[in-house]
């Protein structure tokens, strides 16, 4: 596999263990002082790319993200997990981006870097959109293998096992291709201290998002409103089965 380059797209999201709160105004969630980490599905995609390189099937893993300056930390984590170099498509502070904007940036990077494989997580745990990989494949006009639970490279092609509603589906895609990683693809490694130290010296390039064709202004996908679920109401004890049935009917449940 000569010189096969893998481009991995990652996203900085609020850590999965944090209890998310809606910010006053209902237009966003509270992010100030809240722990952020690498999106778990992006970690799985990155782990797969690093394993391909370790197995000799790929030569280089480039990790990229569209985000503000804070995303540099996320890229360093990705470098500590084994990526060779990183690119930050930088947004201005306070600017937002959705799947379309990310796909545009990654497409521009793909044209620059000429990877044979683009690996993304299937979705981000903050918006759960599950769109970026698909939009990216459409922009590049490349084949796509989403919800991948097994990936194996062949000369000029990649075999992908996908988790679909009916079970498992296996596809063979001509390279270059876009894949999105599902949960059971692999178990990502933990970054160790020596690798974290090494990651500080790996190249991290910062490119303004506009240079990659990301349009200025609000994202295509507009968030209208956010609200927390209604607080849990107290339960009620009933004396008899008849009473229970009556109350369920009254509440329109049966």
């Amino acid at each position: 596999m000569a010189a096969l380059r893998v481009l991995v797209g990652v996203k900085r999201v609020i850590d999965f263990a944090v209890k998310v709160r809606v910010a006053p105004g209902g237009a966003a969630v509270q992010t100030q002082g809240v722990k952020h980490s690498l999106n778990p599905f992006c970690e799985i995609a990155l782990e797969e790319a690093v394993r391909l390189r370790e197995a000799g099937a790929a030569a280089e893993v480039v990790v990229a993200t569209l985000g503000t300056k804070a995303s540099q930390e996320t890229l360093r984590t990705a470098l500590a997990m084994g990526a060779d170099r990183a690119v930050l498509a930088e947004l201005a502070e306070g600017a937002a981006a959705g799947p379309r904007e990310v796909a545009v940036a990654l497409a521009a990077l793909a044209r620059r870097l000429q990877p044979q494989l683009v690996l993304l997580g299937k979705q981000a745990i903050d918006d759960d959109c599950n769109q970026t990989g698909q939009i990216l494949a459409a922009i590049l006009d490349w084949p796509q293998g989403t919800f991948a639970s097994r990936v194996s490279l062949e000369p000029g092609a990649v075999q992908v096992q996908r988790e679909v509603d009916g079970g498992l589906e296996t596809l063979r895609l001509r390279l270059p291709a876009v894949l999105t990683a599902d949960l059971r693809l692999n178990e990502p490694r933990y970054a160790t201290l020596p690798n974290i130290m090494k990651a500080k010296k790996k190249p991290l390039e910062v490119v303004p998002a506009a240079d990659l064709g990301v349009p200025a202004g609000p994202p295509r996908l507009r968030l209208l409103q956010l609200q927390e679920p209604p607080p849990r109401a107290g339960g009620e004890k009933v004396e008899s089965v008849e009473s229970l049935l009556g109350k369920l009917r009254h509440a329109g449940r049966i």
């Binding site: 850590d15 980490s37 690498l38 500590a80 692999n186 178990e187 490694r189 933990y190 970054a191 160790t192």
Partner: protein, 498 residues
């Protein structure tokens, strides 16, 4: 000693049974009283509890109290009279002061995953469920330390540490509260290399029985070593809730190993497997985990997890290090295993493979129970000097066979610590009696070998008599003096340890 109150049929409460309860009642006679003969808490007292934490954080509901009256041992459920959920250390202090004034017993509660009845409220009182205090603070990557409250479990902490290159290695199996692990002096599969809880707790924020706040190493301090005064941190580690509430622990973190390899080796007999362990330690191989399964346990685990292992005494070994040092350790290990008649080794290095092997081991409890469906389990916990381990294990195995008991053995043999998971029919008083006699003999065998009756689970309710034999009169008197100094009215988790 019989309980005439109705007991709902929760799965774990099915362990409450007349036969074994009678046997245990003999061992835990002092301080027990029937929950029905004691008056409930005075309404003004319960109102005062509500005034501190708010009505939603106080419960006297039967189901809630019974949930908090047992852990994962088979000691019968002993529910407290009320359960409270403090949200901050100031509330713990106020509640403790209140209970202290009114002389009401107090029982700390973390995750309820203990194995010695530590949370059973044998004298009733108020159970302090500390799980809502779950802050992780003061993480210092340079100092390798972090501070956690009781609601933080060890898996939650390690997930939080993802990406920092650090981890907290003490792993008792259950996803226990870290402060709870400090309270019981927990250990686990990694202790042979990384130590038990005791060396890994740098400071504790304790609420004393009268409500005063104590920082065992001084407020806000976490030096890696100190020689300043009596070691209060070590006193409270393993105190099993009898000296105060551990409301925050400062923990020592370790760097994640760069490379890890796991293997399984089968041996012609129990003696060979244990002898191999002794030699590995004497060869100074810095083994990270060395777990023993006797042939009954190996077979049970293998079938439970679908692994197809040979039915033989087995060692499960894990090595940590850099890539180069790992290769060296692997070679040393292969030589020693071969010398002891062990099978050749296939090393698992990928994360998924390694996790599969360890989860097979971690399911030992359930695999053992699956040997006799419908039965209860009880785990022994003796720990002896390594030099005595082969004899003690072989004798114990013979005793098991002579007593016709089902007791697969699993052990952290690197520490000289092993468990017999006794699986018995609790409805059979004769078998319960044999179990009790066996565990007493095992405890005494370990003491005679210069060991301890409990390596990691704690004394709790069931081992107080053995503690006396282990420490002797002076030892026990010293413990009693300390208890009397800190808790003169015996309100903190009464009926445990002493």
């Amino acid at each position: 000693m019989s309980r005439s109150c109705a007991v709902p049929a929760f799965p774990s409460l099915s362990r409450c049974n007349m036969a074994l309860r009678r046997v245990l009642a003999l061992a835990a006679a002092l301080g027990r009283r029937s929950c029905c003969s004691k008056p409930p808490l005075p309404p003004d007292f319960v109102q005062a509890l509500r005034a501190v934490v708010g009505a939603p954080n106080v419960s006297t509901a039967t189901a809630v109290r019974e949930q908090h009256g047992h852990d994962e041992s088979m000691h019968p459920c002993a529910p407290p009279d009320a359960v409270v959920w403090p949200q901050a250390v100031g509330q713990v202090q106020e509640l403790a002061a209140l209970c202290h004034r009114r002389r009401v017993p107090m029982v700390p509660f973390g995750t309820g995953t203990g194995l010695e009845g530590g949370v059973n409220a044998v004298q009733g009182g108020v159970c302090f469920d500390l799980s809502r205090m779950d802050a992780i603070a003061e993480l210092s990557l340079e100092d390798f330390s972090v501070t956690v409250e009781p609601g933080v479990t060890r898996k939650a902490l390690n997930k939080h540490l993802r990406g920092t290159g650090l981890w907290f290695p003490v792993d008792p199996g259950a996803d226990a509260s870290l402060c709870g692990m400090a309270a019981t002096g927990a250990s686990g599969t990694n202790a042979v290399r990384y130590g038990t809880m005791r060396p890994n707790v740098l400071n504790l924020r304790v609420v004393l029985p009268d409500g005063r706040l104590l920082h065992t190493a001084g407020p806000g301090r976490q030096p890696r070593k100190r020689a300043a005064g009596y070691d209060l941190t070590s006193l409270f580690v393993g105190s099993e809730g009898t000296l105060g509430f551990l409301t925050q622990a400062t923990l020592r973190l370790h760097p994640l190993p760069e490379a890890t390899a796991v293997t399984i080796a089968s041996f012609p007999g129990v003696g060979a497997a244990v002898a191999c362990t002794v030699q590995v330690l004497q060869a100074a191989v810095p083994v990270a985990r060395i777990e023993f399964l006797d042939e009954v346990m190996a077979d049970a685990c293998s079938r439970f997890s679908g692994m197809g292992l040979p039915v033989a005494a087995t060692l499960l070994l894990e090595l940590h290090g850099s890539r180069r040092s790992l290769a060296e350790q692997q070679q040393q290990m292969e030589e020693i295993v071969q010398q002891n008649g062990g099978s050749s080794l296939a090393w698992a290095e990928g994360l998924e493979e390694r996790e599969k092997l360890w989860s097979m081991r971690h399911n030992a409890w359930y695999a053992a129970l699956a040997l006799r469906p419908g039965c209860q389990g009880y785990s022994t916990d003796v720990c002896v000097p390594i030099s005595r381990l082969p004899d003690v294990v072989v004798e114990t195995k013979q005793d098991l066979q002579a007593s016709s008991l089902t007791g697969p053995m699993v052990g952290h043999v690197g520490d000289g610590n092993f468990h017999c998971i006794l699986v018995f029919n609790s409805q059979d008083p004769e078998e319960a009696q044999r179990i009790h006699a066996f565990t007493q003999r095992l405890g005494r065998r370990a003491l005679a070998a210069g060991g301890t009756c409990t390596g990691e689970h704690g004394v709790g309710l069931g081992k107080r008599a053995l503690l006396q034999e282990e420490l002797g009169q002076e030892g026990l008197d010293t413990l009693r003096s300390i208890k009397a100094a800190l808790d003169p009215h015996n309100l903190m988790n009464p009926g445990k340890v002493l």
